[in-house]
Symmetry: C4
Subunit: 278 residues, 4 copies
């Protein structure tokens, strides 16, 4: 995980776009990362669709989800999801909230997602289910109030993801890349579980021991480098890599005296570059 703030911001913009391009996020959803040097703050875009987020959109928040600087733009109404989880879970370095089509049937039916193949074990053996209605009655189903965010964080507990009734999912990671992998593979697992249900019947989960052992596959060094390059290549091939952050805006927030122009990720692949050069 990068340690310089401008690098973290660039990676966060990239992660937003990767998750959008891979179908986890759409017009909605958001991804945050804990501040690399101040664990009492986190970084999150202004209210914008993940597919178009740029480094200059990234703002800094306290764990109460208040913007550190007076905002000039709309903020995500649901940013308490991020703040409340960072408060409750010191091990969490990145959070993603999404409404991916693969998880929605489970959120709508109130049925559990379980790991059904080796890569799907990345989400862990259990994904708790949170029903906002239990505690708060009729709402617009958004997680806006601090007490709603804290309730969600309690439901998440020590797990890696939580389903939200009629709404979507929230996923956490020990790093931004772990979060991206887990979010994508949890959706793939959900998709496979749905396809199996629709054609061959309800599948049993992996054996607990298999889930435990397979859970770290996506974090193996030869896997993590492979998947990140793959997702970056696909994003670049679509002409959708984020622009680099400008010095003006990044400087006051990040304290960097001079933001140099640099590629947003190591893995900028040959094919992508060729396309962007055209």
């Amino acid at each position: 995980m990068p340690e310089k703030l401008t690098d973290v911001i660039a990676e966060l913009a990239l992660a937003n776009r990767i998750l959008a391009h891979e179908g986890v996020l759409d017009a909605f959803g958001h991804v945050s990362v804990r501040h690399p040097s101040d664990p009492g703050r986190y970084l999150l875009s202004r209210a914008r669709s993940p597919a178009v987020i740029e480094p200059d959109d990234i703002l800094e928040y306290t764990l109460d989800s208040a913007p550190v600087k007076p905002p000039k733009a709309h903020l995500y109404a649901e940013r308490v999801i991020h703040g409340c989880i960072y408060q409750a879970r010191s091990d969490v370095m990145a959070v993603c909230h999404h409404h991916a089509p693969a998880v929605m049937p489970f959120c709508i039916a109130g049925k559990p997602i379980v790991p059904v193949f080796h890569v799907g074990a990345a989400m862990g053996a259990d994904v708790p289910f949170w029903d906002q209605h239990d505690e708060f009655g009729d709402t617009n189903l958004l997680v806006v109030k601090p007490e709603e965010g804290r309730s969600l964080a309690r439901a998440l507990g020590g797990h890696s993801a939580v389903l939200m009734n009629r709404h979507g999912a929230t996923v956490v990671g020990g790093s931004l890349k772990e979060l991206v992998s887990r979010s994508i593979f949890m959706c793939q697992n959900a998709e496979f579980q749905l396809r199996t249900l629709a054609s061959l019947g309800a599948p049993a989960p992996l054996h607990p021991g298999e889930t435990r052992l397979a859970g770290s596959i996506s974090l193996m060094p030869n896997v993590l480098s492979r998947t990140w390059e793959y997702w970056c290549t696909r994003l670049a091939a679509a002409g959708a890599m984020p622009p680099q952050g400008g010095a003006k805006k990044a400087a006051p927030q990040g304290g960097a005296k001079k933001a140099t122009r640099r590629a947003p990720a190591k893995a900028a692949p040959r094919r992508g570059k060729a396309r962007r050069r055209r």
Copy 2:
């Protein structure tokens, strides 16, 4: 909502293409908007697939669905859908008729679409079902006669959308952007409902209070600007933004003395521009 006729026409061409690009419209379907200064007229393209509509294709109709000027091109056979709804519903400013794959199974099976997730509440708690056969017997299922259009408008009543047996759906909005959002989110809701049905069983609708509260999420300022930018960006990235309307044709209809060349929408995004420059 823009108030200048040329702006409304540009936004209507854009809305057609957004709805096509997001999979609501295909070779068929049409979108109209009420005339911004004359509530007794509406604007609709000549008979053309929504994905290719240009501002110069937009014609002006009376609420009897007669073209204001003698047409030089084919007109949509089903334009009475629009005229009859504008006559019956003074609050409606925009109408979309479509055959989206997500709603067709419901139209074919005669089963209701119900709101199953927060964003899907944009269509309201109830979507009535209209069966042309009840009143008119065997037809080619198109809505062509004024009495067919009036029957459909009666079935719609005060709702936001109506399903049409073996045919498709018609959706209305208080503005063109509200219509676009509602059309897209209703399809997404239908898709999620179908996927749930096929794998996990028939889902119950949201609680009535949830539907009422969540129904306006897509109209929240920080949401509307986000979704519109998102859909425009996707359209532009596909190289499919509409050209701008020419002065010659727009002038006599709209009365504008001089139609200046201007971007068709505020949200023309950086990525899209870059691609079009190539």
Copy 3:
């Protein structure tokens, strides 16, 4: 329908690519058209995937499916499908054989496709089912022998399409454009029927009167021009329009003294042109 041979050939190459781009054809499948001035011959590509067919690939065959000139390339093993249908059906001007994903479940399960929405009526009320095994026992399921082709043509009878057990479908039309429309809309109907089956139960067909009346919607002038422009635009936007046929090869076969370079279809749209110019 064009009457000049070079125009017919250009339209045939275009039809192949449209049907490939719209998902009816893939690596396999083929489309033919009856010779415009000699009803005892038909035009069909050499053995090549439809997505890449060029006018120069089109060869002339007798109705016995023998090439008029000694072929220099592989021929489709299944060309008897075309010859036998042209022999049996003087009203048929174009034939398409395909394995589209939308029809395959019906071919595999031996269950009928029925018209379930207005546009789907283009295929007619009944699509007969042909099982090669009934008459020929174990085969490789290809239609290669004249007697197999004749059996298929008998099964087709006076209908517009026939399903082939474990294999695919064959569709016919009174013109190439009618064939393209029918093939696409039959697949869309099959897709909607499948989605309904998987989620809401087996749908009844349209009322017979509705099927009769709605069956000609796709041939209405304001519809045919709209759909053809739409499909051409999509093909052009993908950079996949066929090149124009060279004079050298077309001349001996078609007898044209001078093949001028000309656009392959009237509907070459602005957007497509712009992309190809880049």
Copy 4:
């Protein structure tokens, strides 16, 4: 099948990308080919996603899956799949391991894939099912140890493909092109079987005689040239053809004194070239 090592390497990079572009491989999966002149060795990429593999990534392995030269990069953890199958099956010239969405429901439910249409017969009448748990208990489900690879090879036996419980499939071929065809058509068959199951009920397999006769369709000369051109064209149209291998790296391994720049495949099509020239 090419006989020169540099040609084989180029074809292997191309095969990786074709299988990725056709949806058989994603971030994961790998394809190998036996060494053209030394049957005791095989060729496989360093650990990299198939969609981005270049000729320079291809390494040489002994049948014990040890790299011939000290590797400078991560290797696939599961390369024993390849080595153990080449050891057990002298007729096998190419191996593909994948987690395609079409086969995963069968791997998850423990249900057989059976040939349901003519082209699907390419995988043979029976695809055995291997459950790593039977012999090895709880694992991370990867095939990493030689004894795991040998167990998988035993389960494959003399068949053309084997399903792996909760994991994916491994497919073999008598040539790289046969392997590519079989992998793609087995996925298509699985997809059709799933769609049939979800909508119309469990389909019976083809008659055994049909499977035997139809099994070689994809290897007919007029079919093999057609499919290879088709897949290459689609890959090229997406701008995703592999670059050519550099002389420096290929030389020491392949022994070629001079690696000339040459097109990676015969079938580089006109359309693809045009796009890359832009």
